[in-house]
């Protein structure tokens, strides 16, 4: 009887492990939590491996799944178009997807697997904290790293092999704060809230620097919360005592956080403006908060893809993404998508698969950006390593997500 129990337990464990690790191609499922290879066409062409990592499980998984799916879509599209030509030879891309978790140590482990086991020379990473870990492996081993994250610290001068494919918070913040000031000029007090993990600590200085660019704002400072927090009531009691109305700037990183925060703020009578420049999975977060709590919020990471200001290419991508995964597309998908095109452009510009040669060619490489026009890296911290692009600022009106206008770090047009 005991042996039978053990056998049944072993079978159940194996089944559960398979269920937790495998990614069957049903529309609602996330990518595999361990590794998935995007199929490449059967061809005599060479293969260029692209490491594709992000948090696929856990509290940061909405970022990771979005970004890695975007990268996989780009690999499919490039291969469908015949791949890339390097030094007269055709190459198809192969994405090697791996779960980096949402922490420094797990990010490092994921990069070690890609670099040492899979022999990948180009890595795309979604999320700041895990990228900090991945960078500890990619830099000393001369592997090109293109990441999506909010901190400038990762592209400091000593990280010569690292490029950023999304704006840091300075870009998003400048754009959104200028937008908010133009729309609500009477709102001049601002209080920031941010998560207390590796990502939050990395992006907070960038966030505060961006606020300082606007002397109109009276900066009331900031406070941290633990990722995964659900009950904000005690925190809100303290926050409201500071009378931050009418502006609260909220940075959230984890699933469920923004929705809970908005809902509880509303219950506690807060009626001021909320600016959210970084959250993913907004549609589901807004459902958690309810229409009353989200009315008038300013956000940018998930647009109404059928609304104004969205390009036809973005709209087409959104329809394709939603059809494939049955959830709304976020801009993290676009970031992952553009990252693969940036790598491909760098490789083509270098005419080589050598990561150092590609690094040197990257500043002059351009690609057809899904954000519109030619994508290229702009100068930041003394070298051309950061991509900037216009963003759509959205709000909620009568419970519906609508696009308000386009903003970019330095200018605003509506």
């Amino acid at each position: 009887m005991r042996n039978l129990s053990m056998a049944v337990m072993a079978l159940v464990m194996v089944f559960l492990l398979a269920a937790s690790a495998c990614s069957a191609p049903t529309p609602t499922q996330a990518p595999a939590a361990t590794q998935a290879l995007v199929p490449t066409p059967t061809t005599a062409a060479g293969v260029l491996k692209i490491g594709n990592i992000g948090p696929l499980a856990g509290v940061g998984s909405e970022y990771g799944t979005s970004g890695t799916r975007g990268a996989n879509m780009a690999v499919e599209d490039i291969n469908k178009a015949g791949g890339i030509t390097v030094g007269g030879k055709k190459y198809v891309l192969q994405a090697v997807t791996s779960d980096s978790g949402y922490a420094v140590d797990t990010g490092r482990t994921a990069a070690e697997k890609l670099v040492f086991t899979d022999q990948v020379k180009f890595v795309i990473s979604i999320g700041t904290g895990n990228t900090q870990g991945s960078q500890q492996v990619t830099e000393p081993n001369k592997v090109l790293l293109i990441y999506n994250g909010g901190s400038d610290a990762l592209i400091a001068a000593q990280y010569a092999y690292t490029f950023r494919v999304t704006m840091a918070l300075d870009g998003f913040m400048t754009a959104m704060l200028s937008f908010a000031l133009e729309k609500y000029p009477q709102n001049t007090r601002i209080f920031s809230t941010i998560y207390d993990d590796a990502s939050g600590k990395a992006v907070m200085p960038t966030m505060q620097d961006a606020i300082k660019q606007f002397p109109q704002y009276q900066n009331l400072g900031f406070d941290n919360y633990t990722p995964g927090t659900t009950d904000f009531y005690p925190w809100i009691t303290k926050m409201l005592a500071m009378n931050p109305q009418p502006n609260i700037l909220n940075l959230t990183s984890t699933t469920g956080t923004l929705g809970n925060f908005l809902k509880q703020l509303n219950e506690r009578g807060y009626t001021g403006l909320i600016i959210s420049p970084s959250s993913a999975g907004l549609a589901s977060e807004f459902k958690v908060a309810g229409p009353k709590a989200t009315e008038g919020i300013l956000y940018t990471r998930e647009w109404n893809w059928e609304g104004d200001f969205v390009t036809p290419r973005q709209r087409e991508m959104s329809r394709r993404y939603t059809s494939q995964y049955n959830i709304p597309m976020t801009t993290y998908v676009l970031d992952g998508y553009d990252a693969v095109y940036a790598v491909a452009a760098g490789v083509v510009a270098a005419g080589s698969l050598d990561a150092t040669a590609v690094r040197d060619a990257m500043p002059n490489a351009t690609w057809d950006s899904v954000y519109g026009g030619k994508g290229q890296f702009y100068e930041k911290l003394g070298r051309k390593c950061a991509f900037y692009y216009p963003i759509v600022v959205g709000t909620v009106k009568n419970g519906e997500m609508v696009n308000l206008g386009i903003a970019n770090p330095t200018q605003l047009k509506k």
Binding site: R2, S5, M6, V8, M9, V12, M13, L16, L17, A19, S20, A21, C22, S23, A24, T28, Q29, A30, A33, A57, G58, V59, S61, E62, T65, D196, D223, N224, Y225, T226, G228, T229, T230, D231, Y233, P234, W235, T237, K238, A241, T254, T255, G256, G259, N260, E267, R268, G269, G281, S284, E285, K287, V288, G290, I327
Partner: protein, 286 residues
């Protein structure tokens, strides 16, 4: 600190504390009776919320009915888990501990793959707030406090007067002596696991409309639950009540003075202080 802030924090502490209590009860029950550190308790809580979401949102079943169905389903799952995963390792604390850790890894990832990683909203059955002298009273939070009190009272009554509850107490005190008196350890373990997991699911069902349901919500819950039951005394139901309310108030008032991540540490500091003074916890058995 103004009177309004003090009063609001007092209310916040009570509601947060009672939420903690109802979650920690099942954990301390399982430990007290079965001598198992059920790290997967948080995942039972999460499953309770996800099942409730599926029943009430996806299938449109009435909230109360869905809550009951969810609690029963998770109680049955708890029995299966006890039978398949814990019973083979009974009396081997380390082995059962490793099995629990495996479940903690497997269950949320399975749920994420099936239901998606995003937050799932469960509409509140009792929306709205009352303002009293500048203090906000959330109706659904008040309802959770009431329901928690009822659950705690029902559990006390069950353990005190029901035959199965008495058997659980006997097994908790001395399994060998209980077995000699004709009490089935296997059956009592199953009842205990069903009760513990059902309580976790009921707690999740009460709390999920306040917040949301995500595959990762078990992590925070299990951490808080352990703080509570260690403070109150491992295996002590009254200790879990005391520990939960203490932690709720500590967080509510602590947040007024320091940031949330530091308040999170307060719980661990409290553990150190309590264990130094009373190594078995505040109401733990000697």
């Amino acid at each position: 600190m103004t009177f309004t802030m003090f009063a609001q924090s007092a209310i916040d502490g009570l509601t947060t504390g009672m939420v903690y209590v109802v979650v920690a009860l099942g954990l301390t029950l399982v430990f007290g009776v079965m001598d198992i550190v059920n790290f997967a308790h948080g995942e039972m809580f999460m499953l309770g919320a996800i099942v409730l979401w599926f029943l009430s949102v996806s299938l449109g079943i009435n909230y109360i009915v869905a809550l009951l169905m969810s609690a029963i389903a998770i109680a049955i799952l708890g029995v299966l888990i006890e039978r398949l995963f814990y019973r083979p390792f009974r009396g081997r604390l380390l082995d059962s501990f490793i099995v629990a850790l495996a479940l903690v890894t497997i269950i949320p990832n399975t749920v994420s793959n099936i239901a998606g990683p995003f937050a799932k909203a469960i509409p509140s059955p009792l929306p709205g707030t009352l303002q009293v002298q500048g203090v906000t009273l959330s109706l659904e939070r008040m309802a959770v406090v009431m329901a928690s009190i009822v659950l705690v009272a029902a559990l006390f009554a069950f353990i005190q007067w029901h035959k199965a509850g008495k058997a659980m107490r006997a097994v908790a005190q001395d399994p060998d002596a209980a077995a000699l008196q004709g009490i089935s350890i296997d059956r009592t373990s199953s009842v205990c696991m069903a009760l513990g997991c059902g309580l976790a699911a009921a707690a999740a069902g009460l709390i999920a409309p306040l917040f949301s349901a995500t595959p990762w919500m078990g992590g925070e819950v299990i951490m808080k639950s352990f703080i509570i039951i260690i403070i109150g005394g491992l295996g002590s139901v009254p200790g879990a009540v005391l520990g939960g309310i203490l932690l709720g108030y500590l967080e509510a008032f602590g947040t007024l003075f320091v940031s949330l991540p530091i308040v999170t540490l307060f719980g661990f500091v409290l553990i150190i202080v309590v264990l130094l003074a009373r190594p078995k916890g505040l109401l733990g058995r000697a």
